[in-house]
């Protein structure tokens, strides 16, 4: 029913890739969970590559938990309370992972000297965004904290289930390291009425920032879908790393990570070599 492509490339300007991504497809393939996170990479957030990995792990775990217990079924009304609980849980579990990591890996003498404020509140060093989706046959739930992009393609029309936050300009973003992070989570519950979307695209902000405007960026969704139809999934898998490198080199210069979920086209070969990722 679904085909997934995930790729991440490192910026030439960064010593390491601070983005993370993860997805899960169960054996019966009745749902898909995808997650992308963008570690901030600023001087203060020197462990954000670890923070972003924790973030995608926590999100995958939570979506799987909620799905297995059918908590999101028939939630067209009354989603509000559930999403608040989920935001709090994700934030709490991410903080727990960070604290465990800090206990095992205290700041080095060099890290202690980086910033006095971070030394007092060491969670800041793990700061990251988070976005993801739970995709089922009956509904899709999108989640976003901070910058990044979620595009949905339906009949050649690209939409954003979660609108861009106009407050987030100049590289500023909400973060899991914020004590109030749960209040900045945004959700969208979308029941499947009629067709499943042709494509769902999640990406870190390095992707959209590589284009002069949103219109040029949104062409990516249309182009990926056309490539899937015309050239097939293997063609995309073979070339996507080069495309993303070209994009960041000639665009934002940022780490760039994306996950693409295609609605399977009839007669398309079944997923080859697709690893089911489990906790």
């Amino acid at each position: 029913m679904w085909q997934i492509v995930a790729e991440s490339v490192q910026s030439a300007n960064h010593p390491l890739n601070q983005d993370a991504s993860k997805y899960f497809i169960p054996k019966d393939r009745d749902h898909v969970v995808i997650a992308v996170a963008d570690g901030h990479g600023s001087k203060k957030c020197f462990r954000s590559d670890i923070g972003s990995k924790f973030a995608v792990e926590v999100l995958i775990k939570n979506f799987r938990h909620y799905f297995s217990r059918k908590i999101f079924d028939n939630l067209l009304t009354g989603f509000s309370g559930t999403k608040e609980i989920m935001a709090k849980t994700i934030h709490r579990q991410w903080l727990e992972k960070v604290k465990i990591h800090l206990n095992s890996n205290p700041f080095t003498p060099e890290e202690e000297l980086i910033d006095a404020k971070v030394l007092k509140n060491q969670v800041i060093s793990y700061g990251t965004t988070l976005l993801g989706a739970l995709i089922t046959k009956d509904y899709i739930i999108y989640l976003q904290l901070g910058d990044g992009d979620i595009l949905v393609l339906n009949d050649n029309v690209v939409t954003r289930p979660i609108p861009k936050d106009e407050n987030l300009i100049a590289n500023e973003t909400y973060s899991l390291c914020d004590p109030q992070a749960e209040s900045y989570f945004k959700f969208c519950y979308q029941p499947i009425i009629g067709q499943f979307p042709d494509l769902i695209l999640l990406s870190t902000d390095g992707y959209s920032n590589s284009f002069p405007n949103d219109q040029e960026f949104q062409k990516t969704a249309l182009d990926y879908h056309n490539l899937y139809k015309e050239e097939g999934l293997d063609f995309i898998r073979k070339n996507i790393s080069g495309w993303l490198k070209d994009t960041t080199i000639n665009g934002s210069g940022d780490d760039l990570t994306t996950i693409l979920v295609f609605k399977e086209i009839q007669n398309e070969s079944t997923i080859k070599g697709e690893a089911n990722i489990t906790d």
Partner: protein
């Protein structure tokens, strides 16, 4: 298969650098000559910094306030093509109106939401002769003004440091007081190189983490060096 790369045309991110220059009558003579020299002198280094980061497009403009408030260089020019046009001194110090003029250009549009934090550099030798506060309030209503790196250079001790500090709006960044031409060159070079370099970094910052902009500007230039003659 680069030709099949998904997406439209690619673009690096704009970084707007705007000089806001006092060209009032008190700047006549040595000060205005030094200012023209210092800015012209800073351009090669600014171009070098821009070359080092092809993911940022450094765009330069200039507002002057004196006999009139105007865009001395109104079209944002890529620093690679930028040539300094000398400014002339004369008139009062309508700094408040300059803030209004600046505010108009920091709206979205004409700014885009994907720009890098702008760098705004105010240089003055005196104090406003109009309503600075109203102009400043108008400026600070714009998101891009709040997120900008705002710097202030005083030419001599007569400049109104309170006004410059208000413009900067960050206790960690002090007004730079230039007492002579060499110091002015040094400060202008710092603003147009080190700060531009910091602002062109794509690293994300925590929302609301800083009081002005979100760019750690690094070490400030040495302001205690008054070993040379105090001219201004």
């Amino acid at each position: 298969m680069q030709t099949k790369r998904p997406g439209g045309v690619l673009s690096n991110r704009p970084l707007h650098f705007i000089w806001i220059l006092d060209v009032s009558g008190s700047m006549e003579g040595d000060k205005i000559q030094s200012l023209n020299y210092a800015i012209r002198n800073s351009i090669p280094a600014m171009k070098s910094v821009a070359d080092e980061n092809p993911n940022a497009e450094v765009l330069v403009r200039c507002i002057t306030f004196g006999n009139e408030v105007k865009w001395h260089i109104g079209t944002a020019v890529n620093v690679a093509d930028f040539e300094w046009q000398d400014v002339q001194a004369g008139g009062m110090t309508p700094m408040g109106k300059a803030m209004n003029l600046l505010a108009d250009q920091l709206k979205i549009p004409p700014m885009t939401d994907r720009a890098l934090p702008p760098v705004l550099v105010l240089i003055t030798d005196g104090q406003p002769t109009d309503d600075f506060n109203t102009g400043y309030q108008s400026l600070m209503q714009e998101s891009w003004a709040k997120k900008a790196v705002r710097l202030g250079i005083a030419m001599g001790e007569d400049a109104d440091s309170t006004v410059i500090e208000k413009f900067i709006g960050n206790k960690e960044i002090k007004p730079l007081v230039a007492h002579n031409s060499d110091q002015l060159v040094n400060f202008i070079k710092w603003a147009s190189t080190a700060v531009v370099k910091a602002a062109s970094s794509p690293a994300s910052q925590l929302e609301g983490e800083t009081t002005t902009g979100n760019v750690p500007v690094g070490s400030m230039p040495d302001v205690t060096d008054v070993s040379q003659n105090v001219v201004w």
